[in-house]
């Protein structure tokens, strides 16, 4: 059955005053033979919506694809929500034309006409999504049996989900099982808590929904959310299971104290780390390790390794509290004992301040800002500690029985992409024909060899066997608003592996990670994408007969959605996919397309733009906007009635990273005079929701510019601007500045060819 396009034009909100809507209707009927064309003074109102619904419901339907030429697709979404089988294309005549252009002008009308043409063409090229419907496992794999893993397992099971808990040690409990007492968690926030861990471990062991493997490790994880196949190596042999989502709760390890010789570690058995002291405290009264004598004076060195660019540049967040707790142990064990604490800043956020206050009130606990510059062994068996930079001015020398180094936390993580690179280079060392390449690969192997054997999940992913890490080895989210975001869909980090945190925080963190894991399997079960395109039912298809195995898509996907077969052909995993279209932009063969977002669709929209011949001296400028940030910014510029060049034609992209350079060639060969790309900021503090999208677009653009020069076209005809969503006042300026520059360059010489 041939499709019937219904075009519904709103004349409200100033559209009717700014534009000749009857002319637009005529265009839809004439140029496009639209099956139904209606004009309504308030399309989003009950009458207007009823008009559309009537056409959809007519027998036979008057329209089966809708083009709604009214306000921004961000507005009135409730009113224009139809059955998801119906293709709905919104043409933004209000914010992007009527509110940003002078009313009644010929150029304003032409802009609206072009947008209508582009919208109709887009609807023609769109198909309703066919959601991925595949059987999913709702089981959750939790890796790590410390406090975070135990909590995640219990909470997911408590929500009705089966859990597979894998711990590499023979018993559950992790670090917290070794502590004497925990930080205060209840009012008055001054009393140390008993552990509370044993009860939780028992609950896990006897929970009907939780299967525990101890002394086990993961040898392989393949598949995708809803369908991860996990192979374990366990004391009773190999085991396998299918799970839907994964929580990485592998915890932390103390910073290597042998690197803290400058603080006295290794000098004497009486210099210990905070972790060692905790074990001593849990085992019995704290005594001097060298001779078992009571501790009369102890000195704690804060930030032993942490907040130190030569060691751990970050703050380990818990050491101040750990020290206050351990000072309490010592003071409790020996009421005569003196405790000295040397710190950079004492960090006890929130109610932990109360505990700090209690320590300050203790007459024999001495806290000072300062730096430990030397630790020496004295003839009397004590340790002499020199402290500089104290408020007292002069250096302080304290003789103590015990020096405790508040060593920091190092995540038990594995850097997937680094491991992948290491393996690639190891292969090159063996196989490359070029000596120079072999040497370069050997150099990289040397740099990366610390990653050897660190694998945890052993993901069967083209982009490496584990989560990518962010900074300092933590597989944390880069996004402040979305702290559980990772670059591997369905795999979430929780606890101290994600960021330095104490046990209470890790317990809390595990809850959220369990929520995300449950959500990932439920969304996969519904065929929906997860954040940020949550609920999107569309996904790309790959026309592999024409694939040249260039591997750009598999390399550029920020989320590792694509594997490769032996030849390098991409293997798509729909539930890993975030539907951003970066692969679509990467593909030189144009074989990656969504049912409602394709290379051909955008190319057709570009072709739908009427480009005046050069004698009119009216340029045409194509603007690709990131639909997440730049597009809303242009909407707000419209709401603020900001004017900008009438010669621009905007096409929103799912992400700027989905820009396929063929569109630029299409535009320039059509005689369009300039192409402006506006996307999110990139670099260290990138704001791209799809991580690398805007940066990839920039890289692709640089490559096109070289081609342009060969064609004797000015590279300035192409420009990429980085813009944050709140820079809506700057966007019209950017557009106008670019339009002015294009004006100076004069018409595209290919115009009219």
């Amino acid at each position: 059955m041939p499709e019937k396009i219904g075009v519904y034009i709103c004349s409200g909100c100033g559209i009717g005053e700014a534009l000749d809507v009857a002319g637009l209707a005529k265009l839809a009927r004439g140029e496009f033979k639209a099956a139904a064309v209606e004009i309504h003074p308030c399309l989003c109102g009950a009458d207007g919506v009823a008009l559309i619904r009537r056409d959809l419901a007519a027998e036979p339907p008057r329209a089966d694809k809708l083009v709604i030429a009214a306000c921004s697709p961000r507005a009135k979404t409730d009113a224009f929500a139809f059955d998801r089988r119906t293709v709905v294309e919104r043409v933004n005549l209000r914010e992007h034309v009527a509110w940003s252009q002078p009313p009644g002008e010929d150029d304003t009308q032409r802009m609206a006409e072009d947008y209508l043409r582009m919208g109709i063409v887009k609807a023609q090229k769109s198909a309703a999504p066919e959601p991925a419907a595949e059987a999913v496992s709702r089981k959750i794999l939790v890796v790590g049996g410390g406090i975070a893993g135990i909590s995640a397992a219990l909470e997911a099971a408590g929500a009705g989900y089966d859990v597979l808990l894998v711990e590499k040690e023979p018993q559950l409990g992790g670090f917290l099982a070794t502590v004497k007492r925990r930080f205060p968690g209840e009012p008055p926030y001054t009393e140390l808590a008993s552990d509370g861990l044993k009860g939780k471990i028992e609950q896990v062991l006897y929970h009907p929904r939780i299967r525990v493997w101890t002394s086990a490790k993961i040898v392989k994880t393949s598949g995708q959310p809803g369908q991860f196949d996990v192979t374990l190596e366990t004391p009773s042999g190999a085991a396998g299971d299918r799970v839907g989502a994964i929580i990485l709760a592998t915890g932390w390890k103390p910073y290597d104290a042998t690197r803290l010789a400058h603080l006295g570690y290794g000098l004497s058995r009486d210099v210990v780390t905070n972790v060692e002291l905790e074990r001593m405290a849990a085992a019995g009264p704290i005594r001097r390790p060298s001779d078992g004598k009571p501790v009369g004076e102890a000195l704690f060195v804060q930030c032993a390794g942490s907040r130190d660019p030569d060691h751990l540049p970050y703050c380990s967040s818990v050491c101040c509290l750990a020290t206050l707790k351990q000072a309490h142990y010592i003071r409790e064990g020996n009421p005569e004992a003196k405790v000295f604490i040397v710190y950079k800043d004492l960090r006890t956020p929130g109610q932990y301040e109360r505990f700090y206050r209690a320590a300050q009130d203790d007459p024999l606990t001495f806290l000072t800002k300062g730096e430990v510059s030397a630790v020496v062994r004295r003839a009397d068996g004590k340790l002499g500690v020199t402290v500089t930079g104290t408020p007292l001015g002069a250096d302080l020398v304290v003789n103590v029985d015990l020096v405790v180094l508040a060593a920091g936390m190092v995540p038990n993580s594995a850097d997937g992409p680094a491991i992948r690179e290491l393996k690639d280079n190891q292969l090159k060392v063996l196989q490359s024909d070029s000596a120079a390449q072999r040497a370069e690969a050997a150099r990289r192997v040397e740099e990366l060899k610390r990653h050897e054997g660190t694998e945890i999940l052993n993901l069967d992913y083209r982009q490496g066997p584990d989560l990518p890490v962010l900074e300092h080895g933590f597989p944390d989210s880069h996004f402040i608003c979305f702290p559980y975001e990772t670059r591997r869909t369905g795999i979430y980090a929780a606890g101290a592996v994600r960021a330095p945190m104490d046990g209470a925080r890790a317990e809390q963190d595990a809850l959220g990670a369990a929520m995300k894991a449950i959500q990932a399997v439920e969304m996969a079960a519904r065929g929906e994408a997860v954040h940020p395109r949550a609920g999107d039912l569309t996904y790309p298809s790959f026309f592999l007969q024409r694939c040249t195995q260039c591997k750009r898509c598999t390399e550029e996907c920020s989320f590792g959605a694509l594997n490769e077969d032996a030849k390098g052909t991409p293997q798509f995993n729909v539930f890993r996919c975030r539907r951003c279209g970066i692969c679509l932009g990467a593909c030189p063969e144009r074989i990656i397309n969504f049912p409602n977002y394709s290379v051909d669709m955008i190319a057709s929209m570009i072709k739908a733009i009427e480009v005046p011949d050069e004698f009119e001296e009216k340029p045409r400028i194509l603007v690709f906007l990131c639909e997440n940030d730049a597009y809303p910014a242009l909407d707000i510029a419209g709401w603020n009635r900001r004017r900008y060049s009438p010669f621009v034609r905007v096409i929103p992209l799912r992400c700027l990273g989905s820009l396929n350079i063929v569109w630029i060639a299409d535009a320039l060969s059509r005689g369009i005079d300039g192409v402006l790309l506006v996307g999110c900021k990139f670099g260290d503090n990138y704001q791209c929701h799809f991580v690398t999208g805007s940066e990839l677009a920039n890289r692709r653009l640089s490559n096109v510019k070289e081609t342009l020069e060969r064609l004797r076209l000015e590279p300035e005809r192409l420009r990429l601007e980085q813009l944050a969503i709140d820079e809506y006042d700057r966007l019209p300026e950017l557009i106008d500045r670019f339009a002015a520059r294009v004006g100076e360059l004069g018409p595209n010489p290919y115009k009219g060819f």
């Binding site: 961000r74 507005a75 800043d345 979305f482 809390q508 439920e522 949550a534 969503i725």
Partner: protein
């Protein structure tokens, strides 16, 4: 698994409440999200940039608004308050009182009402530093995208907005509405308020116009704020040549807030960066007790502190005086590391006021500690608090907690439907 169960109730539409609602709804729960203001976003919508990335909150808000728009399982109630809550886990009976907006969902955002409106009102989005018409949109990115009419600001008998509206979206006769819901669980994310700086006598807030709070500073720095993003002195509208930040203005103080508010150090470092990037010739001094930037925030601290125009002095500000001739301020503090008393002249002083939980918005059943923070461990199963009403914390930690609270609520739904 939970779509067939009762909905959950989320109180508070700031970043924590919004997150709890969205995360639970995407997992399959139905959600009622109750917000007392006319639009969602709470305190984060009023911030200029987030630390440490210095990125705008509206970026994540836009994504979250889109997630709400696309999710039929979330019902958003604005201008609404929870009035009554009874029952237990799996089945709470809740009454919500919804104040009239006087604008219906027919509003198209055309703005004709505001253009026609003759009256003005104090703009609470800018903490009263600017005015809006009595018919107004809370801010450009407000969600729900509907105007509001402040009837208290309307002249008697005026109906200019109704006459101007071509879509019959203005309903000046709209009445308050009371709705009842049965919900399986409640997440309270009622947020926080800045500590009342006027109660700290020695710091001059309320007496000296150029002493402001960190919350006001966010509005002054925001492009959509009352000064268009220019940080200007309230006394004379001039850019300050020097800015002093006073840390722990109320926090870590037995006479005010005995706890640490956890975010003010990073917030002041961020605001110091605003000042320095806007006015490269300016000087910034930060008086602090301890700089508390845990985890990766340490990188941010190091980066900001490396700016030669920013001086960090360990010491608590003892008093602030005003030079009446210039409106400048003289901040006297102990410089602990040099063992001396120092006085610094400042064009503008920013008090890093702490976080006070909005515990008044907590329904009965939530247990509070002596400072008003909700305690999840002792509260009833089925009632969970998240975000700054639970403990003072930064945005990402609030979101993290809210995601966890969504799971606790999800469990209640799953249990009540026999799925768990």
């Amino acid at each position: 698994m939970t779509a067939d169960g009762k909905p959950i109730l989320v109180i508070g539409g700031g970043i924590a409440g919004m997150t709890a609602a969205i995360e639970a709804a995407e997992a399959g729960c139905r959600v009622i999200l109750v917000e007392k203001e006319a639009s969602l976003g709470g305190r984060v919508a009023r911030m200029n940039l987030y630390f440490p990335k210095l990125c705008p909150p509206s970026c994540g808000l836009e994504i979250n608004f889109r997630r709400i728009r696309n999710n039929p399982r979330i019902e958003v109630l604005t201008l609404a308050r929870v009035e009554h809550l009874a029952g237990g886990p799996g089945d709470y009976d809740v009454t919500v009182r919804i104040a009239p907006r006087y604008v219906t969902s027919a509003c198209t955002l055309c703005g004709d009402c505001a253009r026609a409106c003759p009256a003005e009102r104090s703009d609470e989005f800018n903490f009263g530093l600017s005015k809006t018409k009595a018919a107004y949109l809370p801010h450009a990115m407000a969600f729900p995208a509907l105007y509001v009419i402040d009837r208290a600001a309307c002249p008697d008998g005026c109906a200019a907005c109704r006459e101007a509206c071509r879509y019959q979206a203005v309903d000046l006769e709209q009445r308050e509405e009371v709705r009842r819901y049965r919900v399986a669980a409640v997440v309270a994310a009622t947020g926080w308020a800045p500590y009342d700086a006027a109660r700290i006598d020695n710091l001059g807030y309320g007496r000296f116009p150029n002493v402001i709070t960190n919350v006001i500073m966010e509005r002054l720095a925001a492009p959509n704020g009352p000064t268009g993003g220019k940080i200007l002195r309230p006394s004379d509208g001039k850019p300050p040549a020097s800015v002093v930040f006073v840390q722990c203005a109320g926090s870590r103080d037995e006479n005010h807030l005995p706890y640490c508010s956890a975010v003010c150090c990073a917030a002041s470092l961020k605001q110091a960066a605003y000042v320095r990037s806007l006015y490269p010739e300016s000087k910034v001094v930060i008086f602090y007790i301890d700089i508390r930037t845990p985890g990766r925030l340490e990188d941010f601290y190091r980066r900001v502190a490396a700016d030669g125009g920013i001086e960090l002095i360990k010491g608590k500000a003892a008093k602030i005086d005003q030079d009446p001739a210039t409106g400048d301020l003289l901040v006297t503090a102990e410089d602990v590391l040099h063992g001396r008393i120092t006085t610094v002249r400042a064009g503008l002083v920013v008090l890093a006021t702490g976080i006070v939980p909005n515990s008044a918005g907590l329904p009965p059943g939530f247990v509070r500690d002596e400072f008003g923070f909700a305690m999840n461990s002792s509260g009833a199963a089925g009632l969970y608090a998240a975000g700054c009403v639970h403990r003072p914390e930064e945005v990402s930690a609030s979101v993290q907690e809210a995601t966890g609270a969504a799971l606790k609520a999800f469990q209640c739904v799953a249990r009540s439907t026999g799925h768990a």
